[in-house]
């Protein structure tokens, strides 16, 4: 049994220790916001915060998760309670197809946690592990800068969810 903290809640799973965290979260724990994109840690669609760092989880074995804090997109904000970054994202209409966006938001959240006023180069550096085939990069930069500004004016929060109830999730089809 492997025990870890998922979106504020202690979670225990019994799976093969080499199972990737992504599949445990998606298939066993039924949180679908984190996506499968490449299976090699190349595209960033599966990114989650592990102890605050944006991490590729499609290649991260459960054995490495024991006792650690995992935050998925569901643990950052919800449709009714958007984080400041998510609000900026919605305002800038960043998403196109949307598939990579959870990973992008996770990486951008990790960036803003460490750097409250990132430069263009710092955004490039922090976000270069996340591919977007729709090319939403210009709007990603715009949203990150807006969120940094809003957070700087003390009018927001990087993470709205202290404890995430998986039963609260509702998918929009």
């Amino acid at each position: 049994m492997i025990s870890f903290e998922l979106n504020g809640k202690t979670t225990e799973v019994t799976v093969a220790p080499d199972t990737a965290l992504l599949w445990v979260v998606r298939d066993h724990l039924k949180l679908k916001g984190s996506k499968f994109g490449c299976g090699m840690g190349l595209c960033g669609a599966c990114s989650m915060l592990i102890d605050g760092e944006s991490t590729r989880t499609c290649v991260l074995p459960m054995a490495a998760i024991q006792g650690r804090k995992v935050t998925t997109i569901e643990g950052i904000g919800t449709p009714d309670m958007l984080s400041t970054l998510q609000s900026a994202w919605v305002e800038a209409s960043v998403a196109q197809c949307g598939y990579c966006q959870s990973g992008q938001l996770v990486s951008a959240t990790a960036l803003l946690r460490k750097n409250s006023n990132p430069s263009d180069n710092e955004i490039d550096e922090a976000m270069s592990g996340n591919i977007c085939r729709c090319g939403t990069y210009p709007n990603i930069k715009k949203a990150i800068k807006q969120a940094a500004k809003d957070l700087g004016e003390d009018s927001g929060q990087l993470q709205m969810v202290a404890y995430f109830d998986p039963n609260s999730i509702q998918q929009e089809a």
């Binding site: 298939d27 916001g33 090699m40 595209c43 998510q86 197809c97 550096e125 977007c132 090319g135 990069y137």
Partner: protein
């Protein structure tokens, strides 16, 4: 959706016509409300997919329920292009209702959702806004009128006194929800000729409103096909032949059977599938399968790097040199013009096979029970998917239900239904509800690729240095024969034996290719510029790798070919690239205009930073006109694309923010192809497997992009694809300006 009911005004309502009500009840319309469809369509009594339980009606795209919910069934697939927002904005405008308050539902399968140009339920060709603009406005305007009529009659007022404001009927300063009148409106004849708004009356069209799918996509709650889940759903993975088109000769699954979670191993038409409790378990078991393959004969012989005359690029070159070409377009007398030419310029260009590499790998969920197949899939052509699934699941097409999801990228890939056919076949063979998921490796190695193409231009100039004749011949595979092969299984009547359908499927390629030229093979090679004499030929050169529509289709290579050629001619004549183009755009004023606007915005060849150079390209596609100017530098043989200026004329921009985003998207996608994109084969096996050897542009490589949208009152045209075709040539032309080296092959390689 606002559901508050306003009842503080005393309403003297007339009764509802009971005969009409009973009629509706007999049609299972239980909950009341107004349900309307496009008046032009037929009226089969088929329940709407995704309809609310209490409001069901044929021909319906729009519902206004008596509890004031406005549902819009989105007939096109949202794959990033913004149609979820765009079409809803059009509806909201004429309904006089903020689009943010409309409940948008990804529609299932229904006659009313057909693409009016393709006569099929297909999303593609950048035509969603263009084809739906007027029909949806009429639909919504008529719906608003009938609500007003209902209000007038129920409240005993003149129609002229019934005004609307954002989903409310306004009377004497009071606001009543549309829903209050939906029941009564249902008893009235649906109007057909409500006047449409003038442009100056638009509240939502033309404004930079937020995307309607933005919140769902920023919170991980938007449902993609891969997210579909239910109790008992198994994961499936499929091992296919390493060379596309191969079939299973024999296989041994004894090692795979014992792998964790494995429930079933089945052979299907193109491989062996493992079904397990979870997808990752099925995927882990695949390498344990031992399979002998029947290899496809033609494709097995092809290697991209071969130097033989009948292999690699030689296959294409030999085709260009042959006399087998079919003429596709002819104007004037080019041959005679060549004889009298003052100058003749000739050049050859190459574009490789490309994969789509959508972020969401192909996937489809299939549940077969009681001769009824339910599919959950995000795809561009649910109607073709249904027919193919019927064939592979051995279920009548009318017994198939499709639940549509968001698409994690399309770019043309999801207009193919191969993955749906596989899911249907696995569900049938395993007798289990399955979600087939492809790996990234499956995706890059089993695509319907952008066809590799080679083109040769011969252009003659007159004494004045103007183009006199423009001749171009293109060699490469054609899309249509493959499209026919892929759909024949699904369109043949079920009374035919499968063996006959199989034969026809195989014959489709041969029959089509020997008789016809698919226009996408040559589109964009010859249309844009003025020339008294023009000729365009096609000759098929086809190694046998399946090909399909890739964002902007033929324009994806013809934009590069034509605009590089134009630049070569201008350079050889010592003419400015912008001026030379303008001299040949007298009959193409919109393309000339976007070129002028882009040149001004980019300060063409004025005051560039040291070491920076510009390149220009223009291209018309999907009824839109685009000019792009790329600003690059080359340092130590390394290319940097700093800035791209883009001007587009797409008629009326429904949502300028989305138009801008689609230009950025086309440019960035086009840069991925221009700088990196290349699928190569070795003995028929695709060599690329994941994003490390088939890279996509990342944020730090993405240039600054400035988009100018031409202000226009004309009807809207396409934006999903037209932003892509010019960019490769704009960059290549800038590289020529920087280095004097003309790169005639994609991807652009400075060292080569």
């Amino acid at each position: 959706m606002t559901t508050s009911r306003s009842s503080d005004i005393a309403l003297e309502r007339k009764g509802v016509n009971t005969t009409r009500r009973n009629f509706l009840k007999n049609m299972s319309l239980v909950g009341g409300g107004l349900v309307v469809g496009l008046p032009v369509t037929g009226c089969a009594n088929v329940l709407l997919p995704n309809a609310h339980e209490s409001v069901l009606q044929p021909n319906a795209l729009l519902q206004i329920t008596s509890d004031n919910v406005v549902n819009f069934y989105l007939p096109r697939s949202e794959m990033g292009q913004g149609i979820y927002t765009g079409l809803t904005t059009i509806v909201g405008e004429e309904l006089d209702l903020d689009p943010q308050q409309i409940n948008v539902i990804n529609a299932g399968l229904h006659e009313d959702y057909k693409n009016t140009e393709f006569k099929l339920q297909v999303t593609g060709g950048s035509n969603s806004i263009r084809t739906h603009f007027l029909p949806l406005r009429h639909l919504a305007a008529n719906a608003r009128l009938v609500i007003r009529q209902a209000a007038a009659q129920q409240l005993n007022l003149n129609l002229a006194d019934i005004q609307t404001d954002n989903g409310k009927i306004m009377i004497k300063g009071k606001a009543l929800d549309y829903g209050e009148f939906a029941d009564y409106a249902n008893t009235l004849p649906f109007p057909e000729d409500a006047p449409l708004k003038d442009k100056h009356e638009f509240k939502y069209i033309g404004k930079d409103n937020r995307r309607l799918d933005g919140v769902a996509k920023a919170t991980g709650t938007a449902q993609f096909g891969i997210d579909v889940d239910f109790e008992g759903l198994c994961g499936a993975a499929l091992k296919r032949c390493p060379i596309m088109g191969g079939t299973v000769k024999s296989f041994n699954d004894s090692d795979a059977k014992g792998m964790p979670g494995v429930k079933s191993i089945v052979k299907i038409h193109n491989g062996v599938a493992v079904v397990a409790d979870h997808y990752y378990q099925a995927k882990n078991a695949l390498p344990k399968l031992k399979i002998q393959w029947n290899l496809p004969k033609t494709l097995s012989k092809f290697s991209s790097d071969s130097t033989a005359a009948d292999n690699g690029k030689g296959l294409f070159k030999t085709a260009l040199d042959s006399d087998n070409a079919t003429n596709v377009f002819e104007k004037g007398d080019g041959l005679t013009a060549l004889k009298h030419a003052h100058t003749v310029i000739s050049a050859e260009y190459w574009a490789p096979y490309l994969a789509h590499a959508t972020m969401e790998p192909m996937n489809c969920t299939a549940k077969l029970a009681d001769n009824r197949l339910e599919l959950w899939v995000g795809c561009q052509s649910p109607e073709l998917a249904k027919n193919l699934a019927a064939y592979y699941a051995h279920v009548p097409a009318e017994n198939i239900i499709i639940h549509s999801t968001f698409l994690g990228g399309g770019f043309g890939r999801r207009s193919e239904s191969d993955f749906v056919a596989e899911a249907a076949a696995i569900a049938r063979a395993s007798n289990l509800p399955i979600k087939l998921c492809w790996s990234r490796e499956d995706d890059l190695q089993n695509d319907s690729y952008r066809p590799a193409s080679m083109a040769r231009f011969t252009v003659s100039l007159n004494k004045a240095g103007l183009i006199d004749s423009w001749t171009v011949k293109r060699a490469g595979p054609q899309l249509m024969p493959y499209a026919i092969d892929n759909v024949v299984d699904g369109i043949m009547p079920s009374i035919l034996p499968n063996s006959l359908v199989d034969w026809m499927s195989k014959a489709g390629y041969r029959l089509y290719n020997s008789l016809l030229v698919d226009h996408t093979s040559v589109e964009g090679l010859y249309e844009d510029y003025d020339a008294p004499h023009k000729s365009s030929d096609h000759v098929t050169a086809d190694p046998g790798l399946p090909v399909g529509a890739w964002r902007s289709v033929g324009h994806s290579y013809s934009g590069f070919f034509k605009e590089s050629m134009m630049d070569e001619i201008a350079a050889l004549q010592n003419q400015d690239s912008v001026d030379f183009r303008l001299k040949h755009l007298k009959n193409n004023p919109k393309l000339a205009n976007v070129l002028k606007v882009a040149a001004e915005k980019a300060a063409w060849n004025k005051g560039l930073p040291k070491g920076h150079y510009q390149g220009v390209a223009v291209h018309a596609s999907f009824s839109s006109f685009v000019a792009q100017i790329a600003q690059v530098s080359v340092v130590n043989n390394q290319l940097f694309v700093h800035r791209v200026v883009c001007a587009i004329d797409c008629g009326l921009a429904i949502n300028p923010g989305i138009v801008k985003a689609q230009m950025e998207s086309g440019i960035i996608d086009g840069l991925s192809a221009a700088l990196y994109g290349e699928i190569t084969l070795q003995d028929g096996v695709v060599q690329q497997s994941n994003y490390h050897d088939y890279p996509a542009l990342r944020i730090h490589e993405s240039p600054e992009i400035d988009v100018v949208i031409i202000d226009s009152d004309e009807a809207p045209t396409g934006v999903g694809e037209p932003g892509l075709p010019p960019i490769a040539a704009a960059v290549a032309n800038a590289i020529f300006a920087a280095t004097g080296t003309r790169l005639r092959s994609l991807p652009l390689k400075l060292e080569g």
